[in-house]
């Protein structure tokens, strides 16, 4: 079985500013202490504000962003078809002034596009969770089933989700269910695999406790297996949502309708490059928010012991 991935690179980069801040605080602490010792004669009791920590938390991301915009500005100075940061910002202000308008089926506000994409991801991902998590539990619990299904999972998992889109169109005869199907199939694998690995890694001690206490199968499930597997499961969920959000854009480009992916394609046909750039930022920000939300949930349910 493929081993579970606990820390995606995304998470690592997301948590690094915090650790940097923490270490900075650790370094910064002795300094004021020395200062206080040398200025012991002065009765200044106020703790000096930790500027260094603030510097290290806020400054690097700001510099990074500024650098990106700066390079962008430099490259577009000579003009051409690529819009400058300023033009893009103006377009964004106009766009977000009225995010929820409807002018027919193919011309709706960006808010509607984002929401319908999120809805597709939600439905597809929800169905995948409904199927994948119980399946992961079974694979983890029954060796025979695991050996039976593992090769299939290994075979199908590396397939690009978009390869499943024609199958969806064939079966459902409609674009929207086909897109949902694509999300379903791409987000089910991480959940199956991580849940199964989690079940296999439940400490033997806990299972021995269950055996000695002679707990019923229901109690074993709710009191021991489920809490022990939950952190693994949530890692799977996080990876799944990440993949689903990656895939929805591509799927919608192919299926059309309302959605952020279709919107990008539509704006390309209109040659509205500003809007494409805005869409890229919006997709990134929504993905980041989804990731952060699920990480917060995972932190809530992790048991350090």
């Amino acid at each position: 079985m493929v081993s579970a991935v606990f820390h995606s690179p995304l998470e690592a980069s997301a948590s690094s500013p915090k650790t940097a801040a923490a270490s900075a605080r650790g370094v910064a602490l002795p300094k004021p202490a020395v200062a206080a010792a040398s200025e012991a004669s002065k009765p200044s009791q106020r703790l000096p504000f930790d500027w260094r920590a603030l510097w290290l938390t806020v400054l690097p991301p700001v510099i990074g962003l500024a650098l990106l915009v700066g390079v962008w500005q430099l490259l577009t100075l000579k003009g051409g078809s690529f819009p400058t940061p300023g033009q893009t910002f103006d377009a964004a202000v106009k766009l977000f002034a009225d995010p929820f308008y409807r002018k027919g089926p193919n011309d709706q506000g960006i808010g509607w596009n984002i929401l319908s994409s999120l809805q597709r991801v939600g439905v597809g991902f929800g169905l995948a969770a409904l199927v994948g998590i119980p399946m992961g539990f079974m694979l983890g619990r029954f060796e025979f089933l695991n050996r039976m299904v593992s090769p299939l999972v290994s075979l199908l998992r590396p397939v690009s989700p978009l390869a499943w889109l024609p199958i969806g169109l064939l079966v459902f005869k409609s674009a929207n269910p086909a897109a949902i199907w694509t999300i379903f199939i791409c987000s089910i694998w991480p959940m199956i695999i991580n849940t199964a690995v989690g079940v296999q890694r439940v400490p033997v001690d806990y299972l021995n406790v269950a055996r000695v206490l002679n707990l019923s199968e229901w109690k074993v499930m709710t009191r021991i297996l489920f809490p022990a597997v939950l952190p693994y499961m949530l890692t799977g969920v996080r990876l799944s949502v990440g993949t689903a959000w990656l895939v929805i854009v591509a799927a919608e480009m192919l299926t059309g309708g309302v959605g952020i992916g279709f919107w990008v394609w539509d704006e390309w046909n209109n040659l509205n490059v500003q809007h494409i750039l805005i869409a890229i930022f919006v997709i990134g920000i929504v993905g980041l928010l989804l990731e952060q939300l699920l990480m917060a949930i995972a932190r809530r349910f992790s048991f350090d012991d």
Partner: protein
Amino acid sequence: MHAFIDVQNAEMVFTTRKGSFHALRDIHLTVAPGEFVTLIGHSGCGKSTLLNLIAGLLTPTSGVLLCDNREIAAPGPERAVVFQNHSLLPWLTCFDNVHLAVERVFAATESKAQLRDRTKAALELVGMGHALPKRPHEISGGMKQRVGIARALAMEPKVLLMDEPFGALDALTRAHLQDELLKIVARTKSTVVMVTHDVDEAVLLSDRIVMMTNGPAATIGEILPVTLPRPRGRVALAEDPTYVHLRKSVIDFLYTRHAHREAVAA
């Protein structure tokens, strides 16, 4: 004497990927009700295996194990186990950890209030009445082991099986918990089978010390009755000639006659 636990000619062979490992052979042991028996031996001598056999967590390759004249086929609440590393469930509070066991044993016959009282009483018995709502990571190692003991005692088991329960604790905490265990056992009159590698612990607590030879194919080398009167106090015993003599016998068995092979090689 009525044998409460009866191990008859038990043998244990583990089959692993690398081949089979002969852990135990020719084990004959009886434990009387209310008796405190310790299993002592070098690491790898199969003492934990024997305990797991009695617990029913393992099935012997051959031979029979009886508890109260019934064959031990699976783990059961009448044989409560205190695990070496406490094995408390980290997502449950101390109260819930114990309550899980209480519920299992008494839910059919008692009201919810009675179950709660039992849980509280068990935790108070081990001096953990103050930590009911705490999670295991919020308390110290010694406290976790107390809760583990409370969980086992709360089931009112016929026999308490302890697998090096104080092995992971520092010397002072260990001594303190040994004293507590002596008091608790005196009060509850529990039958105890305990695995240890600590000679003083064995002499202080036991009625009989089962000394095991080195593995593979380990067996019981000698059984030493501990005739010291109870209640026992560790300070008074330190200079007691019987205690010193018993201690010497165990050390003699472990380090002279059945020295660990690695130790001999060194």
